[in-house]
Amino acid sequence: MNEIIIDVLYSILGGFILSNISIMVFQIFSYHPYSRPILPLIFQFSTVLICLTIIIQLNADVMDLSNSLRFGLATGLADLLSILPIFYVLVLYYLFRASLRSLPSDPLLALLDSESGLN
């Protein structure tokens, strides 16, 4: 198969595994009496297991599940860090717009200012 397609597939699987593992850890450690994490955890565990098996099938260097998990998480994290500058530029665009904006005149705030001035 084409190398780029394989890389894209690794990226998708990596992102999927990274996101699912993060949500699974979040659900376990933020447990409270109103949360019902059992079914989502079983579902996510199964889907992650399927992804790890796909990686083992695709990558000859990855032999077992633990290595597959390391590979998937490392790929997902590295990809996420690589595209971070794109999101950074987006954030800066909105920050720039906010920096140029002037505070809208609020009659209630003006009233508060005038009252505090009187006091």
């Binding site: 949500i23 579902f43 490392a74 595209i83 800066l92 920096s99």
Partner: protein, 179 residues
């Protein structure tokens, strides 16, 4: 070295753990150890003494290229956000210093990050597909679980002491009865 790989994953899970503890349950019942755990996780994730082995080697290089501009940019954005006139008047010292630090983060990005091709960026962007798929499947399964729960009975009326507590809280917040 395997120790370096363990350090990276320990840091990663401590970061997730810190975020989880910081967002758990009602606001007044959150775990107070979330911040130390988060800091410990970030330090363990970012400060590597030895070079890890594959498959963490590429991740390690990406982290090394990201740290300088990311933390500088974070500080710059933080300062600029303090300076922008969202709720208060514009604070020029924070705003200007924030933007100077943001410009410095761009210099650090071009200085320390390796040049990446458009194809590499497109390949990395495809990880978003995996993230979106996982979030969609998670939302779907949570929706199924929540729909299976029968609706609860209407809440009983507040007791006299509860009404008094609510009245006292609201009075305190709007500043009535303090004088």
């Amino acid at each position: 070295m395997i120790e370096a790989s363990i350090q990276i994953w320990l840091g990663f899970f401590l970061i997730i753990l810190g975020i989880s503890f910081g967002r758990m349950g009602p606001a007044f019942q959150r775990n107070k150890y979330y911040f130390p755990l988060l800091i410990l996780g970030i330090l363990s994730f970012c400060l590597q003494i030895n070079e890890p082995e594959e498959p963490e080697l590429l991740l390690s290089h990406t982290i090394e290229g990201t740290i300088p501009w990311f933390f500088t940019g974070f500080l710059g954005c933080y300062l600029a956000l303090i300076g922008v006139p969202t709720y208060l008047k514009k604070r020029h010292p924070q705003l200007i210093s924030g933007w100077i630090i943001i410009l410095l983060s761009f210099y650090l990005y071009f200085e320390y990050s390796e040049a990446v091709s458009v194809v590499a960026i497109l390949v990395s962007l495809s990880s978003l597909i995996g993230i979106v798929l996982s979030l969609l499947s998670f939302s779907l399964i949570v929706r199924i679980v929540e729909n299976r729960i029968p609706p609860e009975d209407p809440a009983p009326e507040l007791t006299v002491s509860e009404k008094e507590f609510v009245r006292a809280t609201i009075s305190k917040n709007i500043g009535v009865g303090e004088e």
